[in-house]
């Protein structure tokens, strides 16, 4: 069901944990839907020096958050903003259709953490103006049903 890459990140998730006094913290999803993702950022000179995550969710939710942290670590804020859920899915070697929303969650968690950083420091980050961390991230990819 899952690619080797997904299983690898699920089994040995990178960057699990918290950052004390993080510069930005973002949390998306809700327990009702069975998934919460929380991302902590340490940012210096526009560069993401460190990143950690915690996730309550399924295998692909954990793998998505793990690979997303890897993909933004050491990158600039602008580069991190360009992280799309598609890129996450590709990096994971694909996700089942029903699990694509887990990767969307990862993209949004990163953005939410960046938004928090912007708000704490009173700066505007280009590309985040319309971002709403509480927006419903669920996309249903059910197979055809005929009734």
């Amino acid at each position: 069901m899952y690619s080797e890459k997904v299983m690898d990140h699920f089994t040995n998730p990178r960057n699990v944990g918290e950052i004390e006094n993080a510069d930005g913290v973002g949390q998306v999803g809700n327990a009702k839907c069975g998934d919460i993702m929380k991302i902590y950022l340490k940012i210096e000179n526009d560069i993401i020096e460190d990143v950690k995550f915690k996730t309550f969710g399924c295998g692909s939710a954990i793998a998505s958050s793990s690979i997303a942290t890897e993909m933004i670590k050491g990158k600039t804020i602008q580069e991190a903003l360009e992280l799309t859920n598609k890129a996450v899915v590709e990096a994971l070697g694909g996700l089942p259709a029903a699990k694509v929303h887990c990767s969307i969650l990862a993209e949004q968690a990163v953005k939410a953490a960046l938004l928090d950083y912007a708000q704490k420091n009173n700066i505007e980050i280009k590309g985040l103006e319309d971002f709403n961390p509480d927006a419903d991230h669920h996309e249903h990819h059910d197979e055809e049903i005929d009734e």
Binding site: T11, I36, M37, K38, T55, F56, G57, P96
Partner: protein, 393 residues
């Protein structure tokens, strides 16, 4: 992965060797069509008759009240649609529960789109229906009560005899989905006032793709699969002879083995529940503490999600099942866990371990060694657990 521990007997069971041995001749040698009159057909017909007797005996039915189907789902579909359409001159109201298997629920939903009214009874926190509520739900138009014998997720066993009694007094047909109960609970259809009952062989160490519907003599029902004259003209299709033979053998073994089987499962179940309770915090048992299937251990592990628990168990060779519907591609948690009142996030953290005849004490020990480590690891990753720990500090 070397060690493999299968704890998903409620999903399906391995077939017993004795069952396979009994089936084997009917594939390549005694392969005749039982409807034929020549000798190739006669030996097949005899085998089908014997199997029918065995299944009948397991549930205290008459031989000619057993109709073979392709499994539990077909039996459920047949019972409910067949009764609904054959009795629609008497009414259009059906009573069932919120915790039925999808093979019952989805048929009911289909019928709702086609002129029938369906009442879905609530259950209490243990998964039990309330008999008074059932009585009050009955109207002049009620033609069918369909309530499952034992629930596949949480294992709760309903008061079937009393339900049957209520149905009987009111002249309403009573169907029960006994797919999970068969072989795990003593069943006598007469004593329990059951009119129709769904069964499936692959849950009792028989083959997949074969089941049966018990239909009490005299009950008015439409055919579901129309065509040839098989199954006393009620269910068409060349008989799945090896499957039927296997079901018969499994039924015979279930009957002979019942006491030992139930004791073995209960013993291991108690050991597993006790061990989990002792070793892991923030867990609770779903379903009724006593009125439950002997092999069912469905528990909530707070702050973590079922699928990741499943995957982690799989990596150490343990096969289980999750109350979380993430696995099935839908985002809603199990309708059963919602019906017993679990909040969403808790329902997502449920895990079902189901024990069977081949489960050993060592298997349980292995689970009790692995599960706490896995739960701990996942909780360390969980943002929900963080809050709890914070609160405790």
């Amino acid at each position: 992965m070397s060690k493999r521990v299968y704890l998903d007997y409620s999903a399906t069971t391995p077939m017993k060797k004795e069952v396979l041995d009994e089936m084997l001749p009917y594939f390549t040698e005694k392969f005749g069509n039982p409807s034929s009159i020549y000798s190739f057909g006669r030996e097949a017909k005899q085998a089908v008759d014997t199997a029918r007797e065995r299944v009948a005996k397991l549930i205290g039915a008459k031989t000619n009240e057993i109709y073979f189907t392709a499994g539990g789902s077909e039996a459920d579909n047949w019972a409910i649609k067949g009764i609904a359409y054959a009795n629609k001159d008497r009414g259009n109201h059906i009573i069932t529960t919120k915790i039925e298997h999808h093979a019952v629920l989805h048929v009911c939903e289909y019928l709702e789109k086609n002129g029938f009214d369906v009442t879905y009874l609530d259950v209490d926190k243990y998964g039990l229906i309330d008999l008074e509520v059932l009585k009050n739900a009955i109207t002049d138009k009620t033609i069918l009560i369909s309530i499952m014998f034992a629930n596949n997720e949480i294992g709760t066993i309903q008061p079937i005899k009393q339900i049957g009694q209520i149905a009987k007094e009111r002249g309403i047909i009573f169907h029960t989905d006994a797919v999970q109960a068969l072989g795990n609970v003593e069943i006598d259809v007469d004593e329990l006032n059951i009119d129709l009952m769904s069964m499936s062989a692959h849950k009792i160490y028989g083959p997949k793709g074969i089941g049966a519907l018990y239909i009490r003599k005299g009950v008015k029902i439409h055919s579901f699969v129309h065509g040839g004259a098989q199954e006393r003209r009620r269910r068409a299709g060349t008989e799945n002879v090896p499957g039927i033979v296997g079901f018969g053998k499994a039924a015979l073994m279930a009957m002979e083995n019942m006491d030992h089987h139930i004791n073995h499962l209960k013993m291991l179940r108690e050991k597993l529940i006790k061990g989990i309770m002792e070793k892991i915090d923030y867990v609770r048992l779903n379903g009724h503490p006593e009125k439950r299937l002997p092999g069912n251990v469905n528990m909530v592990y707070e702050f973590i999600e079922g699928e990741s628990l499943l995957l982690s168990l799989d990596m150490v060779g343990i096969a289980a099942s999750s109350g979380s519907a993430c696995t099935s591609g839908s985002l809603d948690p199990s309708h059963v866990l919602m019906a017993i009142g679990l909040p969403h996030e808790i329902a997502h953290g449920s895990l079902r371990l189901t024990i069977g005849d081949f489960t050993t004490e060592e298997d349980i020990d292995y689970v009790l060694e692995q599960l706490p480590k896995i739960v701990d690891r996942l909780r360390q990753m969980s943002p929900l657990y963080e809050n709890v720990k914070g609160g405790q500090k």
